[in-house]
Assembly symmetry: D2
Homo-oligomer: 260 residues x 4
């Protein structure tokens, strides 16, 4: 052991043996889903089946949102210049930043603060939420996780809240998110829906994730979407084309539904 | 529609409506796993339950391999300089390249070529495989997907082949991979095990993935591992520490097993 | 010295002493230009004053080309999502790839091959060049460094060739580049101008750079341009704007000229 | 002009015409150095010859610092996995972050604040600097730009200050930097030398650069160094080697000096 010796608590690797957070990897393979393995890796323990189902739903909710987000536009612009897939994807990751995906972390911090302040002061979530919204209004700051420039009633948010209730995971953070929605209506005089960032933030709080990992959740979810767009760019378009950020539409399969 | 108008076939986005490959996203949420959604996004159709199980096992197999791979070392070196999570992860992605993860694509191309040549010439996989191994030997080239500098009997490979058989997915590419293993033993006079890259390559061939997406499969699988190491770096270590690439060991949970 | 001990021949760092390729850095500072230091670092020796002047001209020639190249579009797309300057610039670097900047390396390889074949076979550059152009034509391949979709008479190419002649650096590679231009006219029946990539490739060959460093030359030259565009994005535009790849024009200073 | 029309003030590109901040690029080529072009691009005007000389000295001062900085370690780790040059360099850029290069921006902000406070309150730099150092001490914060874990008397800092005086550029920010050094000695009771980050910060303030561009200055300066290390990695070492962060030494040219 030299002077630079260090320790890691994630995975133990020995010849013919790989233990992820203590579990032999070949036992996990075939027995748990990738989403369960993600939770194990990031949180250190396996989730129960209901949590696993919610994590799957959250990851699925953000897997793609078409070609307009900056992560996709950056990735396909890089791909169009002839870069390999991994470099294109890395460029997409770099765009998952403050204004694109970053609202999840911001919203988590707001929800956690309302929880903390309410507990410390012994007052209701409504009271703390109203104070916070007034404070944001006075500083002309937006409350992350509420309102959407495109979807007025985001099907992903609704579905996540419904699932959380069905799965018995909806707890105090769902209440806090709703208190905050109410406070916005009272203080700002308008109904702002909880958007998908706000819904994921609420769920990550319920699951006990630290806000510092919020961005990684979005990165993991969106990576397959970025890959699909880069692969489409590489296989369908000429190199160096001029990529219009909005003047495109969809020509994939027609609307269809899961078989019951 | 302007002169730069273009079309994408992945996801249709309209106000309050998001269709991924035709499916309303809120129907997918709660009903399919993230792995099934990955397959849908990349391949255009939902996998059956057995394929979904194999994809989960493949993604789990590569979710982490400790702190020594260059993707992790690059990512934590960047994190240690104070970069945010997404930039650190992007740096890790850039290292998933020819010598790190790239063997999957190389191996897929070899397996597909053996399949194609055998079909075209009407000869056995063994014959084509022996010819190919001789050719590689003469050019002093390594056959990707066979042999491992660390694991002589990789538990992940064995498990993937077993699962493919149990799930009824093992088909001609499993035979080709075994023919190639045999040819290596005959021509090179040594037993080289199929490593995890080779096993994943075999499975991706069975599932019909194009080799150009092989690298993305590894990126999706390893992303949570890179995130976990970056988060550990950020929360456990001083900035700018000197990161030794091998002089580290594991101090996480002891070996443990899934409850039956 | 441990088993991982290794050696580097670039810069020697000791307390209060930094020797770049052997020279104390404080002696270089104030005495040589950055371009001379670039040459020293990459080639191991200081250039003479004429070479230094040509390198400056080459770096200046590629410092910016407006907002349309994919490196700039990728960088400002990432910046627009809220990423810091260095991540935006890194995204731009990722787009300096096969179809964007990559022509310099390709063209260098062609010029070096013509030189090598002519020497080995004892025939003229014209003869080898014509054979090569026919070969490319038959394979429907483009010859990198010739023709431009936008500039029919690129002022940068002309200036670089003029400077190389004035500075006494124009040598066999200028002749080869001209032989190749002639061969294209003869074989393809059209006049294709040497574009700026071809001109830089010719100069890098004259200066003895290996083609593997061609891309780095373009990266070093273009980095300030990418920085300027990212900074403009950050200071002039709203986050998350939709960035049109061509529908923009210039509103900076009017045309002006250096004082004589 | 569509609804996404936008304007850029950096470079005007028309067929056969490229105007950088108004100047025809072919006029700049051969007439100004790359460093002058960098200043023109970032600041909008050409520097006078003395400023140009100082910028060259600053860029040269940071062109390389051996193999230990995280930007180099990240870049060569990525290169070692088989990534192309530009991806390796992009990984290096990602490490030029808060703790590596970031001190320049921090130090500029401190110097600008001392200047602003002294002017507003009509008090001496010494007084404001002492108050600031006490404030940092009470908050247990380090003052960026002072002290170095390796160089106790950094030859680069000394040289930059000497040059600034010789070139007539040393002005109020040199005085502020010295006042701050004095205040550190008085308040903290120890002599901390101005390190190279602090020296560059002082010079960038004298030149009127905004602190938000400080990081770009370091990126431009260090890029050739990163390229040189990546190229050394690619040409001298086996892929996938384990890269020790400190157990390496120098085997390049012996110490030598510029000819007088």
């Amino acid at each position: 052991m030299g002077s630079l010796h260090w320790k890691t608590s994630i995975t133990r690797v020995e010849p013919n043996k790989i233990l992820v957070r203590g579990y032999p990897i070949e036992e996990l393979m075939g027995d748990i889903t990738f989403s369960e393995a993600v939770y194990l890796l990031l949180m250190g323990e396996l989730p129960d089946k209901n949590k696993a189902k919610l994590i799957d739903a959250m990851l699925v909710s953000s897997i793609d949102h078409g070609a307009t987000p900056p992560s996709v536009l950056a990735a396909i612009t890089i791909a169009s210049a002839g870069a390999p897939l991994n470099a294109s994807v890395a460029g997409g990751m770099l765009a998952i930043s403050r204004w694109h995906g970053g609202a999840i972390e911001e919203c988590m911090k707001i929800l956690l603060r309302i929880d903390g302040d309410a507990a410390q002061e012994g007052v209701s979530y409504d009271e703390v939420a109203e104070r916070l919204v007034k404070n944001y209004r006075d500083k002309k700051m937006k409350i992350s996780g509420y309102g959407h420039r495109f979807h007025t009633d985001d099907p992903r948010s609704r579905r996540l809240f419904d699932l959380a209730k069905q799965l018995g995971i909806a707890g105090k953070f769902v209440n806090i998110a709703e208190a905050l929605k109410g406070a916005i209506a009272v203080v700002l005089g308008k109904e702002l829906p909880i958007n998908v960032d706000g819904a994921i933030a609420t769920m990550l709080c319920e699951l006990g994730f630290p806000p510092e990992l919020a961005n990684s959740f979005f990165m993991m979810a969106r990576l397959p979407g970025i890959v699909a767009h880069v692969y489409e760019e590489q296989t369908r378009f000429e190199p160096m084309r001029k990529i219009h950020p909005t003047d495109h539409d969809y020509n994939g399969p027609d609307e269809r539904h899961l078989k019951q």
